[in-house]
């Protein structure tokens, strides 16, 4: 508890520091805008007004951040076990694929609640299956998980493409490669505008994982392994088992994100559903030094930048690459402060 207190006590100072460097990045980008003949003040004002100034905009940021939060928290779990899971992308895709398949199979056959729960489970199984494969490669064949998870992202993309072009192709979409829309009863209930309970679930999951890592016995062994695998072996911890479980949880969370995206936002699966979400979630986690609580913050920052970025493009008439540049500058600014603590 004292740790939490300390965390909260130092929070304003640390946030202030971050705000200062982010401000520098924003000014730098303003110069860039000026060079392009765009008035940075009106663009920034428009970005903030239409993103944080309207309930629609805030809702969109929450919707956009939801998968980032879940994937980031998943990345944290594996990272604590000393594993670098860059496979959020593929695990998300497999989760989406499994959950949409389940949803199309379930249809209207059962009450909404059970249907949604089943769909979410399917998504988690899909994600865990994909990360579990990488886990097996790791513990059985000593294959570097950074590489396997990364490569499997590309394979997952082709698998999703294969299914949306074949077995799952919507018969009512004139042979366009996308799945049918899932039944209305399987769509996540909305709580505020277009925002579904997905964001609440994501936050709860993040808190749960944070508690699990920092308070449970399993979390302790996880942290020991992450600190030093050899020491963990000597302490009698079954390293492979713990790592395998961490990998499964990590993938399950990414798959869960995929299921929520299908059930709450997309309502059908397409080839490009969730492209780059995995990498952005991974980024959010590592920016937060794999602290699930901080990762929520970084995930929301990335979500905000994605949503506000479109306004930037619309109101400045610059190409969409300007969004990427702004996002990279702001993220670099946050990274600027480097690693300041060695506690946690």
């Amino acid at each position: 508890m004292s740790k939490l207190k300390e965390y909260l006590k130092t929070l304003p100072r640390r946030l202030g520091k971050t705000a200062a460097v982010v401000g520098a990045a924003v000014v730098l980008f303003a110069v860039f805008l000026l060079c392009q003949g765009v008035n940075p003040l009106s663009v920034y004002a428009n970005m903030i007004a239409s993103t944080l100034g309207t309930s629609y905009g805030i809702g969109q940021v929450l919707i956009k951040s939801t998968p980032f939060i879940l994937i980031a928290v998943g990345t944290c779990v594996s990272a604590k076990a000393g594993l670098v899971n860059v496979g959020g992308e593929g695990q998300f895709a497999m989760g989406a694929l499994f959950s949409v398949t389940a949803a199309l199979f379930i249809g209207d056959s059962m009450p909404s609640f059970f249907g949604i729960v089943l769909m979410m489970l399917a998504g988690m199984i899909g994600g865990a299956f994909w990360s579990g494969l990488a886990g097996v490669f790791k513990v059985k064949a000593n294959m570097n998980e950074t590489l396997t998870t990364l490569i499997m992202n590309y394979i997952a993309y082709q698998i999703v493409s294969y299914f949306v072009f074949n077995q799952l192709k919507d018969p009512d979409s004139f042979n366009w490669p996308q799945t049918s829309e899932i039944s209305e009863s399987l769509q996540l209930p909305r709580i505020w505008g277009k925002v579904t309970i997905g964001i609440v679930i994501a936050l709860l999951a993040a808190v749960l994982i944070w508690l699990m890592i920092s308070k449970s016995k399993w979390g302790y062994s996880l942290r020991v392994i992450g600190g030093n695998a050899n020491a963990a072996l000597h302490a009698g911890i079954n390293v492979q088992k713990v790592q395998m479980i961490a990998m499964l949880i990590s993938g399950a969370l990414a798959g869960f994100a995929g299921a929520i995206e299908i059930s709450g936002v997309e309502e059908r699966l397409r080839q490009t559903t969730g492209v780059n979400y995995g990498y952005l979630g991974f980024l959010a986690a590592w920016m937060a030094w794999n602290n699930p609580a901080t990762a929520i913050f970084t995930a929301v920052v990335i979500g905000f930048l994605s949503v506000a970025g479109n306004v930037l493009e619309i109101s400045s008439a610059l190409p969409s690459s300007a969004i990427q540049i702004l996002m990279a500058l702001v993220l670099l600014a946050i990274l600027w402060k480097g690693k300041e603590k060695k506690s946690a």
Binding site: F137, F282, G338
Partner: protein, 302 residues
């Protein structure tokens, strides 16, 4: 015929990946991982293209591309070495930055044509059956890559400089013993890596495709980072993964051209599945070759 075209494809589409693997190997040898090689590659590809389009000289474009890629890597080096920012996150951000900047400043070059490098046939050697045409009828950057790999090996394993460089990634005391600064060595390693990746990007834009379009690096930089593992952090083995990847891309086209009616999505998996198999084969021998400092990167999670 089939084997010949497969080999040609392996070398042609593998060279950009090969150079990236070499570059990332040097980077990781000094204990730094740079996921932003994709960004360095894109910067290299565009700057080479711009120079080529404006001066007409590909030979002038190559050093400029390397310098620009080196500058991108310098950002990474500064953040992760001096600011101690998280390496994986910084690298990924750098990737987005590189892709964004090149997309932005490359807009006016999409419809511009360049002559760039063309394939140069080496007499006699290119007449060797089967492998001759694949290896000795290539563009100058590819020939350069044949030299770079062995030279890097000599540099890393046979010279004092290499010893110190490796020291920066394995044991700082070695570096101090020789009276050098590990920080400086890491900067050198990261920048060299960025320069080589940028050279790979230049091969893609001014030697192989003679085209610039945003996102043309198409994850080859990311794949390059992954393949370092297969090469076991040894530049001499960098070609294995890179050429397997290149050959698989050529193979997938060849199978389609042969009229094989398998879903193209399954064919497009081939390169990635082969990389996994290659990793499997190299991993079961269980050699621990990852530089010690690099391990710390993955372990510094809290």
């Amino acid at each position: 015929m089939i084997i010949e075209s497969l080999l040609t494809g392996a070398v042609q589409s593998g060279t950009s990946v090969l150079l990236t693997v070499c570059g990332e190997t040097v980077t990781e040898r000094v204990g730094v991982i740079n996921l932003g090689t994709e960004g360095c590659m894109a910067v290299g590809a565009l700057s080479a293209y711009i120079v080529c389009a404006n001066t007409g000289s590909p030979w002038f474009a190559v050093p400029v591309a390397c310098i620009m890629g080196g500058l991108m890597a310098l950002i990474h080096a500064y953040f992760v070495i001096s600011r101690k920012a998280n390496q994986l996150a910084t690298g990924l951000t750098l990737m987005f930055l590189g892709l964004g900047l090149t997309a932005f400043f490359g807009r006016n070059y999409v419809s511009v044509s360049v002559t760039g490098f063309t394939r140069v046939k080496i007499p006699l050697l290119s007449d060797i059956p089967i492998i001759g045409d694949a290896i000795f009828n290539q563009d100058p950057i590819t020939y350069l890559s044949y030299l770079i790999c062995p030279l890097l090996c000599i540099l890393i394993y046979k010279t004092r400089f290499g010893l110190i460089l490796r020291g920066a990634g394995e044991d700082e005391n070695v570096v101090f013993a020789y009276g050098h600064d590990p920080i400086k060595m890491r900067y050198i390693g990261v920048i060299m890596g960025g320069m080589l990746s940028a050279l790979g990007g230049a091969q893609l834009s001014i030697a192989y495709t003679h085209t610039w379009i945003e996102g043309m690096t198409g994850s080859r930089g990311v794949i390059g980072v992954a393949l370092v593992c297969i090469a076991a952090w040894n530049p001499a083995k960098a070609f294995i993964g890179a050429y397997i990847f290149g050959a698989a891309q050529a193979l997938q086209m060849m199978l389609q051209q042969q009229g094989l009616e398998i879903s193209s999505f399954l064919l497009m998996m081939i390169p990635y599945v082969l990389v996994l198999i290659a990793l499997f084969i190299t991993s079961i021998r269980r050699r621990q070759t990852m530089p010690a400092e690099l391990k710390k990167v993955f372990e510094s999670v809290t």
